[in-house]
């Protein structure tokens, strides 16, 4: 039984992968490839197919169509099937799935069956050091905290030196403080070891702060794939714009190569949209600025104090609402008249949805 990985490539590639449950297309012709050592996130709302995709990669489920490749080897396809235990992967489940009747050490060593006793002991010790749990090896899962359980689950999945680690919402059961800390530590550990990682999450902040690249899934389809900045600033679909971060949508139209709207006119950023076409302009709150101006085009109706920043909600003269995020160093009272300034470099245009 090969426990040690061959230092071969650990790319993961999905090609037109589909999985149907009856009439429901849980995963619909999804293709992407993840480079060796990359930290990749699948992001989407619940029911978007992200967990199904993860299970397909793990080999816990089989695609109805398409192929999956890990390293050089096809693991799932029309006439190809490699069982989960032979894929060289590790997985951390949302509920950690620690064996409740085994100690931390026994849990970590469970996957080290192929090593001799001494090697297994050394590897377990090493893993305890990596996740910072030295001294807790003799405890049982119910005797340690939730955060420590998560670390044990990570250590257990890393112990057999897998090529790829799959994380199924592993931080969602933790308190906010701990979550932040464990996320950063998990990324550090995985990056240091150069392990290819796929994280499934519905939390965009989590996906953004951890990942090299993010894939956004909706209703089984991959809507967009890119770096966090690309996804945030240049969403390719209305869904991604809406799902990732706060965004306002303002109606406008294209006249003579320029977008005209209630909040000003913007140049077309090289986008090919014909004249007199209706568009929707996506604006992020952090791209909206304003100055106090008695004769301005909007009124502040609400100011939400968020700590470092304040989210202002402004009403335009036509009743439309726009959000603006500004540092909280200076507070502007509600009711103030303001003049809006939008950073034209970051707006994104979508053709107006029909109907």
């Amino acid at each position: 039984m090969a426990v040690l990985q061959d230092k071969g490539s650990s790319r993961v590639e999905l090609h037109n992968v589909s999985r149907f449950f009856g009439d429901v297309k849980a995963v619909n012709e999804v293709s992407f490839s993840i480079e060796e050592g990359e930290f990749f996130s699948l992001l989407g709302p619940s029911g978007c197919g992200k967990t199904t995709t993860l299970r397909l990669i793990a080999g816990l489920d089989r695609p109805d169509a398409g192929t999956i490749t890990i390293g050089q080897e096809g693991v799932a396809g029309e006439k190809v099937w490699v069982g989960p235990e032979k894929r060289g992967i590790g997985i951390v489940f949302q509920d950690y799935a620690l064996f409740p009747h085994m100690t931390v050490e026994q849990n970590i060593a469970f996957g080290l069956d192929g090593l001799n006793k001494e090697e297994a002991r050394q590897r377990t010790e090493e893993m305890l050091t990596v996740v910072g749990l030295v001294g807790l090896g003799k405890r049982y899962p119910h005797e340690i905290s939730g955060g420590q359980c998560q670390r044990v689950a990570l250590a257990r999945s890393l112990a057999p030196l897998p090529k790829v680690i799959l994380l199924d919402e592993p931080f969602s059961n933790l308190d906010a403080d701990l979550r932040e800390e464990l996320r950063n530590e998990t990324r550090r550990i995985l990056k240091e070891r150069g392990t290819t990682t796929i994280l499934v999450t519905h939390d965009q902040e989590e996906a953004f702060s951890l990942s090299d690249r993010v894939g956004v899934l909706n209703l089984g389809r991959l809507e967009q794939i890119g770096t966090p900045a690309e996804i945030y600033h240049h969403p390719s679909t209305r869904f991604v714009a809406d799902f990732v971060g706060k965004a306002d949508f303002v109606a406008g139209s294209v006249e003579g190569g320029v977008v005209v709207s209630d909040i000003g006119s913007f140049p077309l950023n090289g986008e090919k949209i014909n004249d007199s076409n209706a568009v929707e302009i996506m604006i992020r709150p952090d791209d909206v600025d304003f100055v106090e101006d008695g004769g301005g085009n909007a009124t502040i109706v609400e100011a939400r104090f968020l700590g470092a920043s304040i989210m202002y909600i402004m009403q335009l003269s036509n009743g439309k609402v726009l959000h603006s995020l500004k540092p909280s160093t200076k507070a502007i009272p509600t009711g103030a008249k303001v003049q809006i300034k939008v950073d034209a470099a970051h707006i994104v245009l979508f053709p107006k949805a029909v109907g």
Partner: protein, 553 residues
């Protein structure tokens, strides 16, 4: 393509692995349900002249008695069980924490043991009335203990712990926030009990009352002492006394129907609500300190119940036992040893097979998750609600045909044959126990399997564990406590069991329970004492286990 996928999917975890043969759970379910179904179905094809005969002789009285007994014990156990549960959960008084578990103890005394102790103590020749006659000259005014009221009293005392335990768990599950919310809205503790606590604990209380009523319905020995024949008593009398299997079958069919009505009653009362309210992490309702006469009144009430339902019977048994020990005839030890060995053998075999059957059913449900298997498992647990007399008749009916043909077959090869292989041996008896108590093992094992989430299996698989390793290192250790608990509970239940044993035992094959019953029926109290005490001691095992569970959580 589709076909191909389904073939591959069979190799995947969660589908079709490990005891996955649906045939096995199916076979076991059929074996368990068949005897009950055979009995119940006799009502569809009634034999009219038997019914006419029954109607003219025993039936009206038996039906009336059964109804009165069920109503009496139902009301009695509800009032005592739920009342005491509320007292120990909601109030603080001297001895409250001790009474909390002392009040469970009568559970170890089977009704037929409680019954003969009460009868011997309070009937005309008993010590109480003798004493009264010595001092007052006459005891004619003393109520007749050999009556329906006596039976109701004794069964209520023996069975109220079922209601008490479940109601207590239900009341303890109430969250303090619900209590505080009610108090803030102006409800006093009394109103809280009626408007919030009782409705919320209703499923638990209904479950307890249903358990008590199932025991009541199954009892034939106690009602016989008290001269209050019921349907169960009728079935045993017709079969054991008159060897009239046809009449026993018809009567058992009727009895099965009553049991089904009871099950219906329980499911309706339980409704769709879960057994206990999920109180979250909030502590239970705060206890109110009782003051003044109420304080000592509560202590006195609990003391009285424990004394009457546990202290007196145990004291009486110990007295008889010491009489017996000082003047034990030659060979008594040997007789008792044989009784104990028989009881242990039967209980051991029954718990072994019940656990095997329950394991197959439970893993069938977990692994295949199929609707049919789920339905079968549910159906197979119905045995627990069935009176032993129904099961015994069902097994006689099912197995006799098989037995006769088996005997004919063997006789062709073996001069004289082997006799009736199944009904004439303890095989039929063990079969009956498994039908009745598989549900006990099933619930226990299923609770153990609950801990075995699918992700555990998947995690082990991804860590490259083989199927054997997963079974030995993951599945078995997780389910083992449930298996042991289930086996122990079945063991104790079988030790106490009477109707199935009396009806299906091979001729001359005595157990502790049968011995107690026979001695008691012949008013040889001291002869029954030692075996009865043995049964009580064994019965303590699950009670300790139960209190440890409720204390641990």
């Amino acid at each position: 393509m589709k076909n191909y996928t389904s073939v591959v999917n069979k190799l995947l975890p969660g589908r079709g692995r490990l005891l996955s043969l649906p045939a096995l759970p199916f076979l076991i379910a059929v074996l368990i349900i068949a005897p009950i179904l055979v009995v119940a179905s006799t009502l569809l094809t009634p034999t009219w002249d038997i019914w006419q005969h029954l109607w003219e002789n025993l039936l009206p009285e038996m039906m009336r008695n059964t109804a009165l007994l069920l109503i009496g014990v139902g009301v009695g156990t509800f009032v005592i069980g739920a009342g005491l549960a509320w007292l120990v959960v909601a109030y603080r008084f001297p001895g409250q924490s001790v009474f909390e578990w002392l009040l469970i103890l009568p559970l170890v005394i089977p009704t037929y043991i409680m019954g003969f102790i009460y009868m011997s103590t309070f009937d005309f020749a008993g010590p109480v009335q003798t004493f009264l006659r010595q001092w007052l000259g006459s005891s004619d005014w003393f109520p007749e203990i050999r009556s329906g009221a006596g039976a109701v009293l004794v069964m209520t005392l023996a069975l109220y712990p079922y209601v008490y335990m479940l109601a207590k768990a239900g009341f303890q599950g109430l969250s303090s926030t619900a209590y505080e919310a009610a108090r803030v809205m102006g409800m006093g503790p009394g109103k809280f009990l009626l408007r919030i606590a009782l409705p919320l604990a209703r499923p638990a209380i209904a479950g307890g009352v249903a358990l008590a009523l199932m025991e009541t319905l199954a009892d034939f020995a106690t009602v016989r002492y008290f001269n209050f024949p019921t349907l169960s008593e009728g079935v045993v009398r017709v079969w054991n006394g008159m060897m009239d299997l046809d009449a026993a079958r018809e009567l058992a069919g009727l009895l099965a129907m009553v049991a089904l009505v009871l099950i219906l009653f329980e499911t309706t009362l339980r409704g769709r609500s879960r057994y206990y309210q999920t109180g979250g992490k909030s502590p239970g309702i705060p206890r109110t300190q009782l003051v003044g006469w109420r304080k000592w009144g509560a202590t006195a009430l609990c003391t009285m119940v424990v004394a009457v339902a546990f202290g007196l019977p145990v004291l009486q048994l110990v007295l008889w036992a010491s009489e017996e020990i000082t003047a034990m005839p030659e060979g008594t030890i040997e007789v008792y040893t044989a009784l104990i060995m028989n009881s242990i053998l039967l209980a051991g075999l029954a718990s072994l097979f019940a656990v095997i059957a329950a394991l197959v059913m439970a893993s069938g449900v977990r692994i295949t998750g199929g609707k049919l298997v789920k339905f079968l498992a549910r159906a197979a647990t119905i045995g627990y609600a069935m009176p032993g007399a129904v099961i015994a008749v069902g097994i006689l009916l099912t197995v006799t045909t098989l037995d006769n043909s088996l005997n004919t077959l063997i006789e062709q090869y073996w001069e004289g044959g082997l006799g009736l292989l199944i009904t004439g041996s303890i095989i039929g008896l063990v079969y009956g126990y498994v039908v009745r108590y598989m549900a006990v093992a099933y619930n226990s094992i299923d609770a153990g399997m609950e801990k075995m989430t699918p992700n555990l299996t998947l995690a082990a698989r991804i860590l490259r564990a083989s199927r054997w390793r997963i079974m030995w290192r993951i599945h078995l250790p997780l389910v083992a406590p449930g298996i042991f608990a289930g086996a122990a509970l079945v063991f104790v239940d079988v030790m106490k069991e009477l109707p199935i044993t009396v009806m299906l035992r091979p001729f001359g094959y005595d157990t502790l329970a049968v011995w107690v019953w026979q001695m008691a029926a012949e008013s040889m109290w001291s002869g029954a004492a030692l075996p009865a005490l043995t049964i009580l001691l064994v019965g303590l095992i699950p009670v300790i286990y139960l209190t440890r569970i409720s204390a641990g959580k």
